[in-house]
């Protein structure tokens, strides 16, 4: 009741009631109040006093929570009818983004920036958005400006580092320098604890903590859950530290699989550090690197004597307090060690263990047999699709009769974004009928779409990871262009695990010619498809227990090394 009272002190009664109703999850009641009295009241006040945009933002937010998106949009537009307003543009942009109208969102965010050209967060919003629409270079430029404007903001700098990998050219020295700079700026080694009192018995059960924003329905979880399933409870005790902003059913499922789980979202770094220390964690494993909502700052304090980074990030963290990075010899050949601040530890059977989705349907027959033409596909995030890759795909389409290309990415439903991609293909001589673009739908539909794909084409320089595994599981072989650095070698690593390394190409010409060769042999394509799941079963790609064994052996080695120091 006191909450309601507090609200009523700062806003008109019906609005306060509506807000209280939303917060107590009485969404239907809230919607009623909004429609009935609240909107009228706010309308009156705003007409009389156009500076009361705070009320408009409040009501728009509540409308969004009660799923009345259209009305919320109207309210923002009401503000803008009176004149440009950065916050209104920004919110409108976020709304459009949420609705999948990405190109519109970009326009609004640009406008917001025009109004307030020195708000770093606005640069960041626009930058991220541009990248989602495929304008990676421009997006990265905006992220760089954001980072300049907000030199204290570690998260924005992390996001910039991540997106640098999506540029079409790689400069490893430069990337390494940037990551090191981040480490020195935000995670200086002097902050790290240097002496730990963990019990030095070399053979005891180890307490391993996994810290991640991704204990939820997302790619990382597909690979992490296998490990959690395979871990031997007598060798390791598992702790989960979840920085999960929006928990879901996967969060719940994973929670139950840890020996002990803590939700650390919204809890500040120092408190999390204390928590990890009181849990007496021996090995703390970061699963996010510089991806969104990471807790690298927690790692910088080094609450555990041994710290590892694995799985979520295709590069070094630059954080000297992190000792090791788990990888494999294919993804990171030895000569790449100089581009990592962590010591590379190569797992013998690959650094990934894939857990196919429960809702994956059976492998369907080869679509080309019925269609009479080949359908290529790439379901990778469009920020990984750059001019180079599109150029290669256009070449492939040109040199295979009647073929099609199926693309699927978030934002693929946005008509303007589709047009921009069709335009790019048209400039390369490919009519839009040959390129079909889908957006995101339900997860099971996503996998079922592979029923219509004969051959999957990987992206470069940032290979697919989950996408490659999903394509393979659905029977579709993946042709991958291999480069020199980790992000360009994940495809090779996965394909080699299942004995399909032949489909990894070492240069662009080979990528094109191998794809065309594959496309010309329907019979062998069909055979590959039907035998794919048996092939994967034969390999170690999904063998959770074996993978966990390898990981536990690596942990044990790290542990022994530590117990022998000092």
């Amino acid at each position: 009741m006191t909450k309601l009272k507090r609200y009523m002190d700062v806003m008109p009664e019906p609005l306060a009631e509506a807000k209280f109703a939303v917060e107590s999850r009485q969404l239907e009641r809230a919607a009623e109040i909004l429609a009935d009295k609240a909107e009228k009241t706010v309308s009156q006040i705003f007409e009389a006093d156009p500076t009361r945009t705070d009320l408009v933002f409040e009501i728009a937010e509540l409308l969004l929570q009660t799923k009345n998106v259209e009305q919320a949009e109207n309210w923002y537009k009401k503000i803008l009818a009176k004149g440009p307003d950065a916050a209104a543009y920004n919110k409108l942009g976020r709304l459009c983004e949420y609705m999948g109208r990405l190109w519109e969102a970009v326009t609004y965010q640009r406008k917001a920036l025009e109004v307030q050209p020195d708000r770093g967060e606005l640069f960041a919003n626009l930058g991220r958005l541009l990248i989602c629409t495929g304008e990676v270079k421009e997006g990265v430029t905006f992220l760089q400006r954001a980072a300049e404007k907000l030199p204290q903001n570690a998260q924005i700098h992390s996001i910039l580092l991540f997106h640098l990998h999506q540029l079409s050219t790689f400069e490893p020295e430069r990337l390494f320098a940037e990551h090191k700079k981040w480490g020195q700026t935000f995670a200086p080694l002097k902050r790290a604890k240097t002496s730990h009192s963990n019990d030095r018995n070399p053979d005891r059960r180890l307490r391993v903590g996994y810290i991640s924003p991704d204990f939820r329905r997302t790619s990382v979880a597909y690979f992490f859950e296998s490990l959690l399933d395979g871990h031997d409870g007598q060798v390791v005790e598992t702790y989960g530290y979840g920085n999960v902003e929006f928990p879901d059913s996967v969060t719940e499922r994973l929670q139950g699989k840890f020996n002990c789980y803590h939700n650390i979202y919204g809890i500040d770094d120092k408190q999390v550090v204390e928590l990890i220390e009181s849990d007496e964690i021996d090995i703390l494993v970061d699963l996010a690197g510089h991806t969104g909502n990471n807790r690298l700052l927690v790692m910088s304090y080094k609450p555990a004597p041994i710290q590892v980074t694995w799985l979520g990030y295709p590069d070094t963290t630059g954080v000297e307090a992190i000792d090791y990075r788990l990888t494999d010899v294919l993804a990171d050949p030895a000569k790449l060690q100089k581009y990592y601040t962590e010591k590379l530890v190569c797992l013998p059977d690959g650094f990934l263990c894939y857990r196919p989705a429960d809702f994956a349907s059976a492998v369907a027959p080869l679509p080309a047999e019925k269609n009479g033409f080949i359908t290529f596909g790439s379901f990778n995030n469009n920020c990984k699709m750059n001019k180079v890759v599109i150029g290669l795909w256009a070449k492939i389409l040109k040199e295979t009769q009647n073929s099609r290309l199926l693309l699927k990415f978030k934002g693929g439903n946005d008509e303007q974004i589709r047009q921009r991609y069709h335009q790019q293909f048209r400039e390369l001589g490919i009519e839009k009928e040959k390129v079909l673009i889908y957006g995101w739908g339900r997860p099971d539909e996503h996998l079922k779409l592979y029923d219509h794909v004969d051959i999957a084409l990987d992206t470069y320089p940032y290979n697919g990871t989950t996408t490659t595994c999903e394509a393979l599981w659905m029977g579709v072989p993946v042709v991958s262009l291999v480069g020199q650095y980790h992000a360009s070698r994940v495809g090779l690593s996965i394909l080699s695990r299942v004995g399909l390394e032949f489909f990894a190409a070492s240069n662009p010409e080979e990528y094109v010619s191998k794809t065309i060769a594959l496309a010309s042999n329907i019979q062998s394509l069909a055979q590959i498809r039907t035998s794919m799941r048996a092939r994967i079963a034969n390999s170690g790609l999904c063998y959770a227990k074996g993978f966990a064994r390898n990981l536990e052996a690596a942990y044990r080695k790290m542990w022994h090394r530590w117990t022998e120091t000092e």
């Binding site: 429960d358 809702f359 994956a360 035998s531 799941r533 048996a534 079963a537 034969n538 170690g540 227990k545």
Partner: protein
């Protein structure tokens, strides 16, 4: 007279051509040669002089190879019209058995025995058919009688040992004694070489030889091939000694996968022993035990310093010349060691690695969801099905009037056999239309049937092995009854490997209850089906490289033991390496 001999020459030439065509895999050409004209000519020759029976036999044999079995039956009938001799009756009986016409097979084998009552080989053949038609005890008694009269015939005696596992009740001690008896008679330790010149360097690359009749389209191959694929050729050099009577495309594939392959079919034991010694094999692995076409005679001479039996036979060989038996701790818990002449070596996890068939169709939705009733099934060999098991199945069917059962085994199309089954189920209160008994098709056709099956019911005491794996790969769980002997624990081992040990039961009541409970939960069954292949991939059941490493680690340990026996000092690091 002239006419006949030139006719005979012509006929022999044609038969020779047909044989040659078959030799290079041209069944179609061979069949063309065996036309009506030739067949007529052969019959005429036989009519004129019945001593030319051999030509008719040859013709019949070739007709079977080109899949024209009915014509082959006619050949034998043609002979029998003139004379009712035991050999022909026996051959016809064998042919009927091969065709799955068990009732006819039984009739003719009986006639063969009556025609010549003191030929023990004929008793053995009759015994086999008796066992296939459900008369296990009679069959075994007759087989024992036959063996007593064929004291030199090690293979016939091996066959008895194999068949003993098809009795409805198994006594591990009795089985152990029988196997030891065999070994004392046919493979006494005195035959074994006791000193070997192999270089006892504990860390060097090892030469491993696999000796088997089953490098062909055969269940053993489904489980052996992944091991061959998974072997690390830096750690072992792999030799294959194939005693394959009828090589096929699978044989060709195996030949290319071994580092060295030797065809030892119809090469006598002494020569094979020399071959293995020349190859300087360090570890010789038998993959057949007492199954047919085994070469235990070669193992008896111990041409390699370390000998192992693995995979093909579900019991001890009884032989002291074989040092180890590779298995796992579920199928062979520690207390079973007392029933094995070999030392049990338990591989971590499950003792075999499965290679799903390339042509296995994709999974279909749960049939019960669409049909509205649950369908149980059993695809195990009929020799594994005994009355107590059928009683359990009847109990399960009784729990829900709508449920059905599909039973398939070789010989299931035979009318007499079908009637026998219908009667059995009727006596147990289950109407005929609820149980569908049929014969065995080609493997590719057979796998399609899983689109109609919801749950497999395992046999006892001889569990299914290949069938259980295949069923799992096709998304179908198996309810299995566990016993003491190895053969009664396959089900538990397979199911445990993929995390489905819940479906193994330790008593008949539990077996029935679990089947009923599972059948009532269609949603769980459906999810299980859909996710089965992911589950199998995650389990490592099919992970050949990992399995190869496990086996190599076991070999390394065995090798170290031998090196130690030669006085070589194995340091602690060495022992750990082998672990």
């Amino acid at each position: 007279m002239e006419n006949i001999s030139s006719d005979i020459l012509f006929v022999k030439e044609q038969l020779g051509k047909a044989e040659a065509a078959l030799g290079i895999g041209r069944k179609d050409n061979a069949s063309k040669i065996l036309n009506d004209y030739l067949i007529g000519a052969i019959y005429q020759i036989f009519e004129k002089d019945t001593s030319n029976k051999e030509l008719v036999y040859e013709l019949a044999k070739l007709l079977v190879k080109v899949r024209r079995e009915i014509r082959a039956v006619q050949c034998y009938m043609t002979i029998l019209e003139k004379e009712s001799d035991a050999v022909t009756l026996n051959k016809l009986g064998n042919l009927y058995q091969y065709m799955g016409r068990l009732t006819d097979a039984l009739e003719y084998q009986k006639k063969a025995v009556e025609a010549e009552s003191h030929r023990p080989e004929l008793w053995a053949n009759l015994a086999r058919v008796l066992m296939e038609t459900g008369q296990i005890q009679n069959g075994i008694d007759l087989l024992r009688k036959a063996i007593d009269h064929m004291p030199e015939n090690a293979h016939a005696h091996s066959n008895l040992l194999f068949r003993l596992h098809q009795l409805p009740q198994l006594d591990p001690k009795m089985l152990y004694d029988e196997h030891k008896k065999w070994a004392q008679k046919y493979a006494p330790i005195s035959l074994a070489k006791s000193s070997h010149g192999n270089n006892p360097d504990p860390d060097r690359k090892l030469k491993v030889g696999y000796i088997s009749p089953d490098f062909r389209m055969h269940p053993v191959a489904f489980f052996f091939e992944p091991l061959l694929d998974g072997h690390n050729r830096d750690a072992v050099e792999v030799y294959g000694y194939g005693n394959v009577a009828y090589p096929d495309t699978v044989t060709e594939r195996f030949k290319s996968k071994f580092d060295n392959y030797r065809d030892i079919y119809q090469i006598d034991d002494k020569q094979v022993v020399n071959l293995i010694e020349e190859d300087q094999i360090d570890i010789l692995v038998d993959l057949a035990g007492h199954t047919s076409d085994n070469r235990l005679g070669v193992m008896a001479c111990k041409p390699a310093p370390v000998q192992v039996t693995y995979l093909g036979y579900s019991d001890t060989t009884g032989m002291e010349a074989i040092d180890y038996r590779m298995t796992d701790s579920i199928t062979n818990p520690p207390q079973s060691q007392q029933y094995y002449s070999e030392k049990l070596v338990c591989l971590p996890g499950v003792f075999s690695c499965y290679r799903p068939l390339d042509f296995a169709p994709s999974l279909t939705p749960l049939p019960a969801s669409q049909k509205g009733h649950v369908t149980f099934a059993s695809f195990n060999n009929s020799c594994k099905i005994h009355l107590p098991t059928v009683e359990l199945w009847a109990k399960i069917l009784k729990a829900n009037d709508n449920s059905r059962m599909i039973i398939r085994f070789k010989g299931g199309d035979d009318e007499g056999v079908k009637q026998h089954w219908a009667n059995q189920f009727e006596q147990l209160g289950i109407l005929q239309n609820r149980v569908d008994v049929g014969g065995w098709k080609s493997l590719a056709d057979h796998l399609e049937i899983y689109s109609e099956v919801d749950i497999i019911l395992d046999t006892y005491p001889f569990n299914g092995h290949t069938n259980t794996c295949e069923a799992l790969w096709m998304g179908v769980p198996t309810i299995s009854l566990i016993g003491q002997c190895h053969v009664s624990r396959f089900g538990l081992s397979m199911l445990s490997c993929v995390g489905l040990e819940f479906f193994a039961a330790s008593t008949g009541d539990e077996y029935v209850k679990k089947a009923i409970v599972l059948a009532q939960n269609l949603e769980a069954l459906s999810i299980l089906r859909r996710t089965m292949r992911g589950r199998i991939s995650a389990s490592g059941l099919c992970y050949s490289k990992g399995f190869g490493r496990k086996v190599e680690a076991a070999y390394r340990k065995m090798w170290h033991q031998w090196c130690q026996s030669k006085g070589v000092d194995i340091s602690k690091e060495h022992i750990e390496l082998g672990v």
